[in-house]
Amino acid sequence: MKKKTLKILLAAVILIFVVIQVYPVVWLFLSSVKPSVELSTAPFALPKTVTFENYRQILEEGKILKYMLNSVKVTGASLILIIFLSSTTGFALSKFRFACNNKIYAFFTFGIMIPVQITLIPLFCFYSKMGILNSTASLVVPQVGFALPLSVMMFVSFYAFVPNELIEAAIMDGCSPYKIFTRIVFPLAKNTVITIASMYTILIWNDFIFANTFISDNAAKTVAVGLKDYIGAFGRVDWGRTYAAIAVSVIPPMLVYFLLNKYVTAGMTMGATKG
């Protein structure tokens, strides 16, 4: 009997915590379908009337879609580079036998500690000299650079499971190192690729600090920074449209998360247990 009450208590406590973690997000979606009048009078009540007016307005205006397209470009380009660079570098470090390998690997792991803020001023100056502020590339460079340490580590630890005998056999058959990589090793790393891609899709899509520093032109804004357009200085804010815009912008990372949940969690916790 006592055990049963304890069990129920346990479930209740856990449930309360679930509510604290999830409520703000649910509330965001509920608010986005409320008419603006209701938002200013009873912002935390359940919506009495459901309206998609807020969504219609922001989609018609079209700004948010343009910002999202910019985010897609930055995220896509970064992902391709991250996967390409870390899968090859990881291969070099784990399947070649050279004395410097351990040192180079340590050099990569060191990067996990480095705060991203350190790059803001130097890259800003460099970009403005080159005239590439407000470009997709200006965001891709730091995104990829700071993703490399962890993704190289993930590839190295996956390649450790690819038996050397397999590679020896391929050499016997006359395979070049390049063919070994493209035909044998890389195709095996499918899960690692999905893990890295899903995790960094979310992280890069959500990036604020780089975009806020390197992008000032409306035409180049990514969605995380573009959201600030909807948020007025103090007080006078059209909350309905703000929530709708936020809701639209969080849908892509949410989709990635719910579809590839296992990989995202694995990636992030691996990031923790490896760093």
Partner: protein
């Protein structure tokens, strides 16, 4: 790392693209920050070498100290929320038999939402016009007298910009701790129970020591993460009111991109990186010392027995 390929040219073809990109995007900026930190530069005219003057100016700048102290308070709040709450719920979750994976999935949601959205969500919960959630709750439990405009009140602002950051990653640390806890060998805990240890003793003497590597890791992650905290304080209050919520990184941002003092800003950036490395070093040291103490104690015990 025990590779077998020895083709030098192929090695370089595979290694260099990633390595060069990494050096350019991460290490060139570090070197350049250090160079700029001994310069006086407004971004337009020629930079002028001033030696350690920027650092000297920081040391005599009361706002810099304020930002540093604020950063420590921010760090304390974030560490307490993420690690203690994260650990507590991970522990509770280990007693749950059903629905664990669903709950883990839900706990994780806050960390996949962009910080701008998190800031706005909390802004509306803190707000007074219209009445935000926090004030509504206070009024409903009869503590309406404590209702305040949380973000513009100098007493509450710093705590209020720290909480969203703590909230955001609590679920992630819970998932990490949970994974560590369920990977423990249940037989050891059973054995402790047989020896008469109660739940609390099992936790302190057995479970915690056994997940020490994870504790070191999560502490390092949370602390270096909090030292570079930026997005949410920047979006919610941008250091204000006054300098009550100024953190080192928001101060750096203001100096560099607000006041065009790139030299001074770089000096703060160098300070942040130095501070992060110091924290990592001390944490590693602290955990190492404990390890060696433990080992020597075990050795002594063995000797006494033998």
């Amino acid at each position: 790392m025990n590779g077998i390929l020895r083709d030098k040219k192929a090695f370089l073809v595979f290694l260099l693209p990633g390595l060069l990109f990494y050096v350019f995007s991460v290490f060139y900026p570090i070197a350049d920050s250090i160079r700029l930190s001994v310069m006086k530069w407004n971004g337009i005219t020629e930079a002028e070498f001033v030696g350690m003057k920027n650092y000297a100016r920081l040391l005599s700048d009361p706002i810099f100290y304020k930002a540093f102290i604020n950063n420590l308070i921010y760090l304390a709040i974030v560490v307490i929320m993420q690690l203690t709450i994260g650990f507590l719920f991970a522990l509770l979750l280990t007693y749950l038999t059903r629905g664990v994976s669903l709950i883990k999935t839900l706990y994780y949601i806050p960390c996949i939402i962009t910080t701008v959205a998190v800031s706005e969500l909390f802004r509306s919960m803190y707000s007074t016009q219209p009445e935000g959630l926090f004030n509504i709750i206070l009024e409903n439990v009869g503590m309406g007298a404590y209702a305040t405009s949380w973000l513009s009140n100098v007493k509450t602002a710093l705590v209020c910009v720290s909480i969203p950051e703590g909230w955001r990653f609590t679920g992630m640390y819970m998932v990490i701790f949970y994974a560590a806890l369920i990977s423990l060998d249940p037989e050891i805990c059973e054995a402790a129970k047989v020896d008469g240890a109660n739940g609390w003793q099992t936790l302190i003497r057995i479970k915690l020591p056994m997940i020490r590597p994870i504790l070191l890791l999560t502490l390092t992650m949370v602390m270096t993460g909090a030292l570079r905290g930026f997005d949410i304080p920047f979006n919610l209050t941008n250091g204000g009111p006054g300098n009550v919520t100024e953190l080192l990184s928001t101060y750096m941002y203001k100096k560099a991109f607000g006041a065009n003092k790139f030299g001074l800003g770089s000096a703060i950036a160098v300070f942040i990186i130095f501070e992060s490395m110091l924290v990592v070093f001390f944490l590693k040291q602290a955990f190492k010392e404990r390890d060696s103490e433990e080992k020597s104690r075990k050795k002594r015990l063995r000797r006494e027995k033998g």
